[in-house]
Amino acid sequence: MSATGIASAGRAQGSGRRNLLATVASLRAWLFLIVLLVTFEIWSQVAYGVSFIASGANIRSIAVFAVAPVLLGLGQTLVIISGGIDLSVGFTMGLASVIAALVVNATGNALGDGGALVAAIVAALAVCLVPGWVNGQIVARLKVPPFICTLGMYGVTRGAAYIIANGTTVPVSNSWLTTLGNGRIAGFPIVVLVTLLIVLAVHYLLAESLTGQYTYAIGGNSQATLRAGVDVRKLTTRLYILSALTAGIGGILYTGRFAAGAPQAGEPLLLDSIAAVVIGGASLFGGSGTVSGTIIGALIIAVIQYGLVFLDVEPFWQFIAVGLVIIVSVLVDQSQKRIGGGGRADG
């Protein structure tokens, strides 16, 4: 009842306010990012007399901080647009991190550093296919709600990662792997360059390919998509596999960066990946979302995390800050939908 009141009031006020709100809502992630950067800049200038933004080291660090949320957020974006969610990404990343570390150590003598790295990448991604495929099959074929299915897989991957790692972190010494994690090409961290390649690939997939077209269609109306002759099961499975693979790449890069495989590598990234997608403007009900939105969302998270470290704030504040950004972001989205009245079937 109150929603109707607000909606009609909004209409009565004409389109000016509605357009403004729609613009604000569509650009909200950018606005957040700008407000955040300006705040940190002022804070940094006032407290320490140095610039936050005009520093190559800071920008590089933010980019490196953003790698994992971007990668896991990309897979999460695909799944969320299709109307699902993947709660298992964090520990799939941990599992991949551990597998990569163990394989590098086991094959280093036989294959040399380069060969061992290739073997580690192949093995880690191959292992990630398992939770991805199982998630997809259970969601698409057995119609188990994605939240429940991937929550179960969260437990399975978590347990598997710790068991395989023997409950601890697995140190590695492989020059190729640590170069992958910490090296630079022309000043750009290699992890960032790898992530950019994945970003381009997923952007093409989502924005230009048939798979992307069907991902949106399934999220909009999976029944209609099925009736149109699209193999919804196969597509859904593919999306969960892609989500597991981007998490796996995140795990491999983590192992390279920290020279250790860790089961808990991706523990905070479940929340971060969903946050990146939601801040980036996707609907948790499916049907909308973009790669660029998710990247902005991930950058916001990275700026908060790195910025608070840089400004010497207790690190726990970052959880509060990210949490607040999620809530405000969703509020802006909802008020825009309500007032814009461009709404759902209930009109």
Binding site: L210, Q213, Y216, G219, N221, Q223, T225, A228, V230, G342
Partner: protein, 252 residues
Amino acid sequence: MGDTAEPLLETRGLSKRFGGVHALERFDFQLAPGEVVALAGDNGAGKSTFTKIVSGVYLPSDGEILVGGRPVTFDGPQDARRQGIETIYQDLALADNLDIGANVFLGRELMTRFLFLPRVDRRRMREEAAGALAVLDVHLDRLDRPVRALSGGQRQAVAIGRAIHFDARVIIMDEPTAALGVPEQRKVMDLIRNLRAKGLGVIFISHNLADMFAVSDRIVVLRRGQLAGERRVGDTEPEEIVRLMVGRDGAA
């Protein structure tokens, strides 16, 4: 259209049983090109069983389906659609978040290429979809918006445009005017007349007698899975149709 024309769709002795329930019994039906036939009947009379059989959802227990005079069996809805029978479902089968191009071409996307990579050709799909709607005399000012921004009548037009763009000969419409306002109902009626003028056959299911009389050539009444009667619209009146539906008059 003439009686000489081969019926677009014909059924002979069509029956469907679910266990002991006779949902449809020995139903003979014909639909000529350029004809609009309304199916009337109470809930459970067999209307939706019939439409599900001729749209390939159910296999008949007995009887024949002929398309253009040729006996056919449908291996699922896709197959029925390939043979020119398209059903416009109540929920319209549209993806609300996609534009008209993506909806009209859903499952049959037009592709182009960027270097070596295949791309979905959104622009061409939009233009061709707009063309398909223009045939129905529906014109949209913006083509790039998601279809949730369209009115109910326009959304019907998208669903119908999708059907005729892919050469449907028979269009089955299940309660197309339910949940629409009066002006939008009129637009849907216009759409149906438009389809008739183009020589398509329309099967029109409705609970609304006024709609049936406004748009159809013939009304076929089902009761308890059987043909209760069949009237040309000019030769009958709503009261008679109601009597046939409830079965109080044995004069069928």
